[in-house]
């Protein structure tokens, strides 16, 4: 049976992990490769690297990091952050990334989804959508959730699916950082409407939240950052909890 996926997300700046991590076994807390290897050994199903570097050299640094990660770990990983052209994607996939994720650049130029999917196949194109509820309506936001757009989240999700996205990474900015649970209602609505997998992000605080996002939120995968980095929840205990709760999971 196909299992639900648990995906730790690592924020990267200039080739280093930025969000503080609380792993005593790490010799170098800022080394993304070492952290990635620990997560992979602990049973993470996939990893996401989100690059938040803002310098011109970023592409080269990121590609070098991707190569190091690809050489070190034996599970799939996605790379996102500032990717806007077919060439950007080519460089990262050739460096060894399994998938790339695009966000603001897709909102700015939706056609890029078609172009990337045609060139590399849908399976490696993840479209990340940041959403925020404004007066009862879910709108797509860009620039880390700061900038509102006029796109309705459900409509945009359908459009990116139609344009050839292979997966959607949906982050609820209303839930992100609250540790009060995922945005299950919206996730379920989108997951039901779309024929591609949906990765839920934003709001994980307890193990029960993961169970809820898979049962009520109908998510295919769940992503979280700080609760894993600070070891509030360990991946092995989370996976055995989910398995005991009759969620299909890889142990």
């Amino acid at each position: 049976m196909l299992t639900k996926r648990i995906i730790p997300c690592l924020d990267i700046k200039e080739g280093r992990t930025v969000k503080g991590v609380n792993f005593v076994e790490l010799r170098d807390a800022g080394d993304p490769v070492e952290l990635a290897k620990i997560y992979s050994d602990e049973g993470a199903d996939e990893l996401v690297f989100l690059d938040i570097t803002a310098t011109v050299d970023k592409r080269k640094t990121l590609a070098e990091l991707v190569t190091k990660v690809a050489k070190a770990i034996n599970i799939p990983f996605t790379v996102g952050g500032g990717i806007s052209t077919v060439e950007d994607v080519k460089v990262l996939l050739n460096a060894g990334a399994d998938k790339i994720s695009i966000n603001s650049s897709a909102v700015k130029n939706p056609q890029i989804i078609n172009e990337m999917a045609a060139e590399f196949g849908s399976q490696c194109i993840v479209v990340a959508i940041d959403t925020r509820n404004v007066d009862g309506i879910d709108f797509v936001h860009t620039h880390g959730g700061r900038k509102a757009t006029l796109l309705k989240t459900q409509e945009w999700a359908q459009e990116v699916c139609d344009r050839g996205a292979g997966e959607i990474l949906l982050t609820s900015m209303d839930h992100d950082g609250t540790k009060a649970g995922f945005s299950n209602e919206l996730l379920a609505e989108i997951s039901y409407a779309l024929s591609i997998p949906v990765i839920a992000s934003g709001g994980a605080g307890t193990m029960a939240h993961f169970k809820d996002v898979f049962t009520f939120g109908k998510a295919d995968a769940a992503l979280a950052a700080s609760i894993f980095h600070f070891k509030e929840i360990g991946i092995p205990e989370l996976k055995s909890y989910l398995s005991d709760s009759e969620i299909s999971i890889r142990i």
């Binding site: 196909l2 299992t3 996926r5 034996n74 060894g96 399976q123 039901y192 024929s195 591609i196 109908k218």
Partner: protein, 198 residues
């Protein structure tokens, strides 16, 4: 040991090279028929679209070469599909090493079954085969695909998604895995290691 990884217009071959490197073997990415012929083992990876891949192989006469090889040969993902007889992906005649048809997943209930089939799923009904030696019962492997090979007499492990399909095929010196062993953690490493020892 000389391992040749067949170079063609397919995505993500780098991961296969890295995975072999992690196992301590050096593999050469090549489309040179002489190098491929002389290799101890041949790996045929792949991600992409069937008709484009077949056209590329034919243009370089790699299609006939692949069918003539005698050493252990491992197709991965699209590599498995191309070793079959025919693929529904753009109605493509494939290499025919396995007399098996490749079909598209058509979910009856699209709310429950998304296509592509992405993620970790189990290999079941494992045959007694050197490629599957010392694997745990129902091991998990990582899949990303929209087309699948039907069950056949050459199926040595199957997976269930919507229905059962061929997870791993074996005929003579040809082995083929639909999942990505290079991305399937320790189970994937074991599969690749077993292939290196067949």
């Amino acid at each position: 040991m000389n391992i040749a990884v067949i170079k063609y217009n397919s995505g993500n071959v780098q991961s296969v090279l890295y995975a072999l490197e992690r196992l301590g073997v050096h593999a050469e990415l090549t489309d040179d028929p002489e190098v491929i012929r002389a290799a101890d083992k041949v790996v045929f990876p792949g991600q992409g679209e069937a008709s484009t891949a077949m056209r590329y192989l034919k243009e370089r006469k790699l299609d006939t070469l692949i069918k003539e090889l005698k050493q252990p040969f491992l197709g991965v993902c699209l590599g498995l599909q191309l070793l079959c007889e025919h693929s529904e992906e753009n109605d493509t005649e494939c290499l025919g090493v396995f007399p098996v048809k490749v079909k598209r997943f058509v979910p009856e209930n699209s709310q429950e079954f998304k296509v592509p089939h992405v993620g970790w799923n189990e290999l079941e009904n494992l045959a007694d085969n050197p490629l599957l030696k010392d694997l745990p019962a129902n091991p998990f492997v990582y899949y990303v695909h929209s087309f699948y090979a039907e069950l056949s007499e050459f199926t040595i492990a199957q997976t269930h998604y919507i229905h059962d399909f061929s997870g791993i095929l074996h005929r003579d010196n040809y082995y083929a895995i639909q999942a990505h062993p290079e991305k399937s953690g320790l189970v994937g490493e074991k599969l690749l290691n077993n292939f290196l020892s067949v």
